[in-house]
Symmetry: D3
Subunit: 334 residues, 6 copies
């Protein structure tokens, strides 16, 4: 039987299928009875769930990041769908079709890797092209790079998210460069490729997403510098001549300054044209991804506005037609 995706599920449905589990918590209600609160997701989104009368044994039978078969039914609370779980059991990842659970299919990931190579190998700057090649031909690196998410919970927080964000940013650079001839296009393209490369070790993403200890204590801005140093040394070995000093400096500067402001964790402010452009475009891409997701996922179906987001210090405008169609769709679901 074909899957009913999260984005299709309405209220008052019976459910019996596999989900990816996260944010699991065993909590007492106010009568002292335990219940399980968790998040169930597939590639189209996630839905909150509760299992009443849970206990430590059920809680211990699966972990965040596991797949689980879930039985139960849905209801509408506070304008949002919630699932009441009656049964839940762990499922081996070998038994599921992972493409149903990751926003990016393997085919899409393959396409993005191809495009990445194409753009990097199309650069005119020989030194940068050689440097890029050292990354591209490093299989363990590429395996991590095409699997890492770009974050733990904000934008692009899914397997392949780092790759998708990187390639998107490089596309943007490629399109914008002709408008600004004063920018060194190849330098900016390489900076876009490498800006978040430290995330392959900053994040841990084998089983659920989290920061690694090194990620939290040192950070991807600093960790990327070592990755770059190693590949520059390799590029020099292969080319048999020194890599241009200034180019390395400019690349490192882009890595350590790409958050744009001290308060966002940049130890340096952007001081070259390419570093300024990278910081802005990276921020724009992240903001558009995050705003889009909020507009898409906002549970507040009756309002023209999303719920207030304290981080952004604002609500977002969904438009005067928000909610109109929603009523109809809700009817359709029955």
């Amino acid at each position: 039987m074909s899957r009913r995706f999260v984005s299709q599920i309405g209220p008052q449905e019976s459910i019996d299928q596999i989900f990816l589990v996260s944010d699991k918590q065993l909590r007492p209600n106010r009568s002292g009875n335990l219940y399980l609160q968790l998040e169930l997701s597939d590639r189209t989104g996630s839905v909150g769930a509760r299992m009443w009368n849970a206990n430590e044994k059920i809680n211990g039978s699966f972990e965040n990041g596991d797949y689980a078969r879930v039985e139960g039914s849905t209801q509408l609370f506070q304008g949002a769908i919630q699932m009441i779980v009656t049964r839940i059991s762990r499922v081996e990842s070998s038994e599921v079709n992972e493409d149903e659970f990751q926003p990016l299919t393997r085919t899409e990931v393959d396409r993005l890797v191809l495009r990445l190579g194409e753009m990097l190998r199309g650069m005119n700057d020989l030194a940068l092209r050689n440097l890029a090649e050292c990354f591209l031909m490093d299989d363990p690196f590429m395996a991590k790079f095409s699997r890492a998410p770009a974050g733990v919970k904000n934008h692009h927080a899914y397997i392949g998210g780092l790759l998708e964000h990187t390639v998107k940013l490089m596309e943007v650079v490629g399109r914008l460069a002709p408008c600004y001839p004063e920018l060194d296009r190849d330098l900016l393209l390489t900076g876009a490729f490498l800006h978040d490369v430290g995330k392959i070790d900053e994040l841990s993403y084998d089983h659920g997403f989290s920061y690694s200890d090194e990620g939290q204590l040192v950070g991807h801005l600093v960790m990327a510098v070592r990755l770059l140093d190693d590949k520059v040394a390799e590029a020099e070995r292969l080319a048999g001549e020194p890599f241009p000093r200034e180019t390395v400096l400019r690349l490192k500067h882009m890595l350590v300054s790409h958050h744009g402001e001290y308060e966002f964790g940049s130890p340096k402010l952007p001081m070259t044209l390419e570093a300024v452009a990278l910081a802005f475009l990276d921020n724009l891409d992240a903001k558009l991804a995050s705003f889009s997701q909020q507009l898409r996922d906002d549970p507040n179906v009756d309002s023209h506005w999303t719920a207030y987001n304290a981080n952004l210090r604002r609500k977002l405008f969904k438009g005067t037609h928000a909610g109109d169609g929603a009523v109809v769709e809700a009817g359709d679901e029955k």
Copy 2:
């Protein structure tokens, strides 16, 4: 005799030609004698000048924003060229070829106006196209819009600067839009067109550049809203049907929020995807223009770095080859 442009002038040259005057000040030296300090410019840049033994009569014989014939010679002080003026007299603007004094020639301005119309008339959204047409066919508006600078002293502070900045921003929008299908391209394009439209009355640019009283007291973000309201009313008259309410709201929101943060004078934070994108891209374009100009005009010829800029809280990196060529050029000038 062909003009020796500011960008070509070296030390120890005799000068006798016309310049545009600005920043004029009559000041006493410490012996109580008066001297005139002023800035002389043409389309390629500006140079500081001093006329010793000046008096109130000379000072009163021309104004900032005037053209003047200047005789004198140049010297090198603190790494920068300075002109010592021995004679100066006002020249009618009818006697000069203004193309030598404006970064944008009339031909370039005409080309930009054409491109503006082309992009606006190429939009798919009928209502927005009609609205744009109301602006394009308003000759007094277009005369101001293609003459206004984009600022008084930062980026694009020259005749036609507003038009150039606007068209550049629209080009960027056009190129970026395919990367972000969630953006309403035509809405963003119209927002880019109108975002700084209030500057046609915020600034005063008939004789030198300054803020108008209304510009300082009310500001171009608010002034633009009235211009938009008037044209929407006109578009409704011409079309014989109401302009979509939500579209007007979204446009107004882009106008009042495009500085992106409260501290930069936006009374509202961007709360739609298009408003966020507009604020970022406008800021990026302004920053690249202003950084490029600083890198180009930095007087500090011996250093890899520009002078410290207190506004930006940083120096900019000119590169390790900065100054190398400068020595040679300085030799050439003798």
Copy 3:
């Protein structure tokens, strides 16, 4: 039977009367059962209420902003009165005496409108008096202006609140002006009249209070400018001569700068004496209203201090006698 006002209700009372409903929410408890949480108010204050074993049908039978007959009883929790509702049903507004539910009675509103006219018509400046008259004789405007609240939840958030806040501010201006002869009294008085005039459309107050879409996207500071422009045009038509340009500029400046700081949404800082005075006095009136209300409504009856207010980053001091009388009153209620 005469009404028992919210301010008179104690614990352990049986209740059966009409209230105004707001902040309604249908929520599941931790056993998955639904309950209704709501706020019940009349002109003397509001009280939190819960209805156990609610469902979507009850929830759908009335809206925020409706009047409802409520049966139930009160109890004391965490030092505050809470109502447990057993029955609730919608009542037509035609069946209630609205004066019992609005802090301002119609008589009080009428008196405020009279006082407003009196002060405006008493100004010496002919142009400003004419301008004011254009507002006063605009019936639809006056209807909205005397009905709008001054906010959604902070100070003066009730029908007529905008009018009351405005007239109070004008009284303050009238009293203060003799102390500061350097202030243009009539200009400041007109500024006080118009400073929040944009709120008539920024807020939506026919059924509960909220921001309109235009209110959130554009804001009352900007919206007021158009209202002013329209009336200036009308005043010019009526007077047959141009309205003084500088006076309009000074008024607009007061409108757009009256929040006093960029971070509070002013696109301009106050740059005239009258604009500075307006921003301070408006802020003082709002702060006194809001502090008074917190001191009055603080539920924490045992303490000399109100609860910590995160917005204000402080607690307020109620005095060392706070709580003393409260015990006696609580006894009285039984």
Copy 4:
């Protein structure tokens, strides 16, 4: 011969009369010759002056805060009057009519002291009236209090300035109180009287104005608390009964919180209605005094705007007629 006041002096005048000296500096010009730079003032304002070919002996013959007979002539530089001094010699203060040099005459000071007593003795609160009496009958205190300036260089920086600012603030409180019945009028009045009382020792004003060491190290907010403690003890001795504890606390709180924000040196935020009102009204009075002075003294006669004030982060609008009359007056001076 009657005095030519600073406010009347124009360019190209010969001067021979007495001024008050401040901001004296002996400096080398760039040829290594010494000149004296100083500020000359009387009750109507101050004018910059320079004496060429000065030396250490002349420099040592008088101090800041001295009166001096000055001979020389005036000229117009950068839109401002400057005096070129040819002779200068110290004059005993016994030889001058101090009323010509202080913005407040002795008669005005006497009137302010009377008014202060009138308002304090008119309070209804017996305890506060007794406390106030303890201050009023303390002659050394009153001598200092009616002589101290309110600041070193900003608002009310002249002999009697503290008294004038205090009485003005109390007048404002008296007028405003009827609008806000929730305020304790007498408490607020006493707070207004005492808020800056610590300045009598924070500042040093016997010879020019400066901060005392204690003023800079401890500050008038803290110093005022001890003055209050002493007088409360005295009031208790005189009344033979304890002063109400809570009233003392509320007064102290007003003293230590009246700068309104931590960043302005308040160790506490205002947490009572009277403390909030005091902080706002004090700030308003200071801002109006300082803005008025800037508008009045702005040297930039040709502009509608004052020079940019970095502290206020803004220019002030002088009006569109600024400069019109100035030209005529300048002509009158010859």
Copy 5:
């Protein structure tokens, strides 16, 4: 039977012993039934507790700060121990061994008092030694000083905490001083002794910990100045000669500036070497105490990281071995 300390209690234990009670709240659960939520502590830590089916009578039978005999059992929720209380009754403090409930035993307090006297009497500066003696021989002062906590809930929030923090800081000063001969060791030592002395009246600690009204309205920085003034007067009486003026000023300055920044409630920034050193060392000691406590008490046993602390805007790193041993211990408890 010997006490089972909080630090030793595991899940699934039966408990019947005395605790110190704080943070008591009577709250309704979502079915409208009341329960009691409270914090139970002894000298080794505190544990959250709930008593289901509570009522106002039980709630009224004891207060925060009381000792109570508690019967019930423990369970593990969300990684933390929680106690379910079945019976609770107040116990007189005379019946308990207070050393089991205070982090500092009386012996430890006595030792700290001795050490305090030793360090103060060992100073070389005669005036400061005399001043210190006036504090040391004031028995009521010393009783309060050795009993007061250093805070309400952050660092050193226990009986004797102020003394412990003060002596620790003085030890640090004593050890550091030889490294910085430019510091006046005795002045800094006296400043360290007195910096928080105002807390003896700022806090109320007879029954639970809270701020006194004066503490909240005036603050310990200002309150300490009066304590100092009184003792200086006494020292002058005893010595029969004036106390050095500058030394008093420098001490007062240290008291009012020791929070280091305006935003932390210092009305003055540190402007002497000793004031700077005091502010830094006080802050360091407080931070180390608070970080250590968080690392020790973090309930999140499975993680290398503490929970996110919003005040500090960070998590703390517990180390990669955190949680390893915890599992074993949990097993031991059964």
Copy 6:
């Protein structure tokens, strides 16, 4: 003839000896004549100097960082000594006794290096001791490390300044550690040793002091990480076993977080006890060094206060005796 040190030079002296040159500028005076402005220093301080009637040839005959023989005389301007130079010529560094020009003599540097080794080799932690040894036995590293300044113009800006600051900080750590047993003393000691190690390449100090390009673009916090990585690898080679992972992480974290706040360029906030302690102690040492220097060098001899320091947003208190002795000394100099 023995040297007259800068600290001994008074007004009206004839001078003919060698100085270290910095801050050289060729500038026009207001008559268009060139003069040379420069700073002359030895190990005891620096003095401003001017050479009138200079030219480009003289200006080109020596560089900042050179030694030069200077003839001229001193005068007192604005309370400070200034030198008027009549002759200046470059001197080879081989001809001077460098100990007269560097605050630290070679003997002092040698002593500091010894002490550094002693402390590092005295650590109990074997892994850290091995790591330290890898630094200590790296001669080129130690040569740089004992020569680098700690800054370009603030604290410890002299040859050997980095070493002196580092050893001082380690001494402080050694003394403080026994007070805080919760700190890992050896880890903190190693962190203190390495915290500024990146400055050996961040700064350029062969000829005058400045930031290297890499220093400005990448920064010493990031550069230090690579130095650490290299030595850890070496330590592993030598020990034949892996260096403890967690120790490396903790060290790196201390390096990247030691500025303590984002706004000071730390990409991470301190999240371990040792990182917090390091950030505080480093800051304290830097502040005491910088405050001491300001108190010592303040040119304002007549005042109890230093000049206002905009960076610190304060003046510093020199004491009430400041200036008293200065008058006498000035008399002595004649």
